[in-house]
Amino acid sequence: MKKSQSILSYRRRCRRLGQGTGLSHYILLTPKAEK
């Protein structure tokens, strides 16, 4: 059986912070459909 890691930690950051961050709803979670 695979042993679990004793410590696991990681962090990612947004490549374009402020662009696409910042609603109270869902719409930015879906892909842009604009052509």
Partner: protein
């Protein structure tokens, strides 16, 4: 180096002296716990037998090396963003009278609807404002919201056609007025579309979502849902109440069967008495919500097709990539008044749609005053300065930056002050615990929206 500077630079232990505050969290795993430094949102999953490494070993070194960058990242996320979106109510009226609506009934029944030219004048003002504050090339979001925006269809469509080069547009609608022509108009222009549906059967869905005569529109909404399911910029909101809380797993099956890719299971806001009366108990909500999430995973394994529950995905993103989150309700200060704001059909500007029923939270009118001044007024400052650090018990909560104590409008309605925790505090706790279990199992991809990994880059990793 003086002794004090040396100790500050290299603390040997967490939680004493110059050492960082590392909270240990039970997350429902037999072999592991989570440790979190609240201020920087640094976290690790640690085997119980390895806790010494977290509290006095290698993890402290990691935290020491990363802390400054992580805190700066949180500072920018919490205090450094510019408004990039507006919720726009083109009408106060709604053809529906849902039990839990956060807007006053008189407004929805007899209120104002914008004419096309009024709406376009307002959009011009907004477009000019965003052009002043956003970097060149950044396109702001404009979401037509309600009441029911399709009541003002002529004005909305005129605005979309005239300003499509200056905004990413979205429409949140009850779907009952979306005929074939409207769907063609919106989808051919790439407009994001969100619709609302509360249950997998008419008998239940129509109990809370109904028109003024008391009749629901389940069949009509499902017809629209089927037409839009394959449209990439489509999603559905299910408002979770005591009426439908036990159907969430069925809802997952329903949405998955119908080909929907993104949903939100939003607990009903307690901003008005209708919502307060329908609030599900936190324990029941958490139990049913997590069961539904597990079911999305099962379906993904079985079919290879994801159903993203976006509000949970945002909590998960808030842990693994704090700046990669998309929604700004579950961070403090929330996004209201600082990342986005709301405009009423009269042109009055509020920190968020949740405040539109409370005239005292209007910062001014965009036809008469510059937006920069409106956004700096006292009603806005009240919302944009609301921080978990000044709320009890949030100030001592390890997961305060994974939750954010939402929402200020709801909290004020329930507690009489914004400086109180969320009425859904216990529910948020359970979501965060579940998110750590998802991370422990290495299943993040199954719960996050497609492309989340391309939108973000890894800045730190420690696996021992």
């Amino acid at each position: 180096m003086t002794m004090t500077a040396e100790q500050q630079a290299t603390p040997l232990y967490a939680n004493t002296g110059f050492g960082p505050q590392l909270a240990v969290l039970e997350v429902g795993l037999t072999d592991r716990v989570a440790v979190v430094e609240p201020e920087s949102a640094f976290w690790a999953l640690v085997e119980r037998t390895a806790l010494n490494q977290a509290l006095a070993g290698s993890l402290l070194e990691d935290l020491r090396e990363q802390a400054q960058a992580f805190r700066e990242e949180m500072r920018v996320l919490r205090f450094g963003l510019k408004p990039s979106a507006a919720y726009f109510n083109p009408t106060e009226r709604c053809n529906f009278n849902c039990s839990y609506c956060y807007l006053p009934e008189a407004m929805r029944r007899d209120g104002k609807t914008m004419e096309p030219e009024e709406l376009c004048t307002a959009l011009e003002t907004l477009a000019d404002y965003f052009a002043r504050v956003l970097p060149d090339g950044d396109k702001p979001q404009l979401i037509f919201h309600g009441s029911e925006p399709m009541v003002a269809r002529e004005a909305v469509f005129a605005g979309i056609d005239r300003f499509r080069d200056r905004f990413h547009f979205g429409v949140q609608t009850n779907a009952t007025l979306l005929d074939a022509e409207a769907i063609e108009f919106l989808t051919s222009r790439g407009v994001g579309i969100g619709i609302s549906l509360d249950a997998p059967t008419a008998a239940l869905a129509d109990r809370t979502r109904k028109n003024w005569a008391g009749t629901g529109a389940f069949d009509r909404v499902v017809e629209v849902l089927d037409r839009l399911a394959a449209y990439p910029a489509f999603n559905v909101i299910t408002t979770v109440t005591s009426v439908n809380v036990d159907t969430l797993t069925e809802m997952v099956d329903f949405y998955h069967d119908h080909g929907v890719g993104v949903v939100m299971f939003n607990p009903v806001r307690c901003t008005r008495s209708g919502g307060q009366e329908l609030k599900p108990a936190n324990e029941r909500l958490a139990e049913q919500f997590l069961k539904a999430l597990d079911h999305t995973y099962e379906l993904y394994q079985k079919t290879g097709r994801k159903l993203v529950v976006a509000n949970f995905a945002n909590v998960l993103a808030g842990i693994v990539a704090p700046t990669g989150r998309r929604l700004m309700c579950d961070i403090s200060p929330c996004g209201g008044g600082r990342c986005f704001f709301a405009v009423s059909a009269h042109g009055d500007v509020f920190p968020c749609s949740e405040f539109i029923g409370f005239q005292e939270f209007s910062g001014g009118n965009l036809y008469r005053e510059p937006l920069e001044r409106i956004l700096a007024t006292e009603p806005f400052v009240q919302v944009t300065s609301r921080r978990t650090e000044t709320i009890e018990p949030c100030a001592r909560c390890a997961i305060q930056h994974f939750c954010g104590a939402p929402c200020p409008a709801e909290v004020k309605a329930v507690a009489g002050t914004m400086n109180a925790p969320s009425p859904y505090c216990g529910f948020y706790e359970e979501q965060v615990r579940h998110a750590f279990r998802v991370i422990a199992a290495g299943r993040e991809d199954a719960y996050l929206w497609s492309g989340w990994d391309q939108e973000t880059e890894e800045t730190f990793r420690r696996i021992v």
